[in-house]
Amino acid sequence: MSCGEIERLFIAGASPEEARRHALECATCRSLGKDVDTAEAMVAGLVAPALPVSLRAALLEIPRNTVSCEGAERLLPAAMENEISDDEQRRLANHLSRCAACSEAAATLEAMRDLTQPIPPPWLAARLAANRPVREKSFWRLLLAPKAAIALAYAAAVVVMLAGFNPADLARRVSASQLGENTRAAVTVAESSLTDRIGAIQEKIVRSIQVWKGRAGGYGRAALSNAVSLIWKSSGPKERPAERPRNRDGGGAFRERDTTITTWRA
């Protein structure tokens, strides 16, 4: 196990003489230092492999075959409008095939074109309708509303009919004779209707009188009968009416004798 001094000397950049002096005193550091020097010496004689001419030529061509990230940033907007040359297009495509970040940016920009209109959710129409501000209706808007228009049409038709301007009858009413005949027919109808009405009222009055007469007679007879009964009862002895049977044997359950016996036994 090394004391670590040889490593500390190496890191501190000590001279080889210092390392050698310590190695003379410390056997482990001597062995370690020998290993390190040997490895360093094994590497020291090697030379760097020469850069191939073909590789140098390929490296010089790089700017003609691709673009940098900032170059791609400049070309992308123009490329979307097809406003770049074929050579620029080739270099941009080469760069995008290698650079994930620029490729992602280009794909995102391109994907914007393919976006379709979003489908509204089913609840949206109802919510919009519920949130629509209430508008004050003008007189004409009220007048021209469907229901109001229908009501007005009916009212106008009634007024026209009441005024005698029924379009269907208008042609027939043009002649005076027809008009008089119609008037007479109307008067006849009105008379018969009035007669019928009066007759009905008379009949109803007569029927009511008869009903009241019947009721009055009935009450009178009942009062007379009660008076006779009272007079008749007050003149004779009172008789207790027979008690109605109350149990199943039909002979009456509570006889006077049974009650007495029961009382005696107790």
Binding site: D37, T38, M42, A58, L59, I62, S68, R98, C99
Partner: protein, 203 residues
């Protein structure tokens, strides 16, 4: 220095081809070297280098000149390099280092025996690098193989200089220990001394 590099980057952003060529000539070799050391394969290193420079070109607007451009380049390259390194590490043949893989890193001498020894030593080195933790291995590659300064490595990996030095020390010690243990397991303890003597690394 960073102000000049910032001006160079700004000219590149403006589309100046000469400035881009200057940037490639300044840093192309360094980037390719790092890529090769992480991949140990020429095709993979070229592909990785192109990827690093593409990323550099696309992100030039992010460089603010607050630290050396090479460190900024390496900070962009680091994740790509580590990804490749891990991918290679998952392969069964990861610890096998071929002659072709190490040849581009060797200077040819007239002595075939010395060349063979250097080749074996380099293969052993990359085998050991595959054995140690990757946070130690990457420091050793950037410092000892690619010759970056502590400050540049610290900026690239977002580490303090002390941590970089500490990791470098431990990386070297670990590499040497793995090599020694391998030779001891194989009963050829003398081989390590031979390699060490060949490397000239004896205290």
């Amino acid at each position: 220095m960073s102000a000049e590099e910032k001006a160079l980057v700004d000219r590149c952003r403006a589309g100046d081809d000469d400035s881009w060529r200057e940037l490639v000539d300044c840093f192309g070799q360094k980037v390719y070297s790092v890529a090769y050391h992480f991949t140990l394969n020429r095709e993979d290193a070229e592909e990785l280098s192109q990827e690093i420079f593409l990323k550099t070109f696309e992100n030039l607007h992010r460089y603010d000149g607050s630290f050396p451009l090479v460190a900024w380049l390496l900070s962009l390259a680091r994740n790509l390099c580590i990804d490749r390194y891990r991918r290679r590490k998952r392969e069964k043949s990861f610890r096998f280092v071929s002659d072709e893989a190490v040849l581009p890193m060797l200077k040819s001498d007239d002595d075939p025996a010395a060349d063979a020894l250097k080749k074996e030593r380099t293969k052993l080195l990359f085998w050991a690098l595959a054995e140690i933790p990757e946070d130690l291995a990457e420091i050793l590659v950037l410092r000892d193989l690619d010759g970056l300064a502590y400050g540049e490595i610290g900026k690239a990996l977002d580490l303090p200089d002390g941590t970089v030095k500490s990791r470098l020390f431990r990386a070297r010690a670990e590499v040497a220990r793995r090599i020694r243990e391998r030779h001891e397991r194989r009963g050829s303890a003398g081989a390590f001394q031979t390699l060490a003597l060949a490397a000239g690394g004896v205290l």
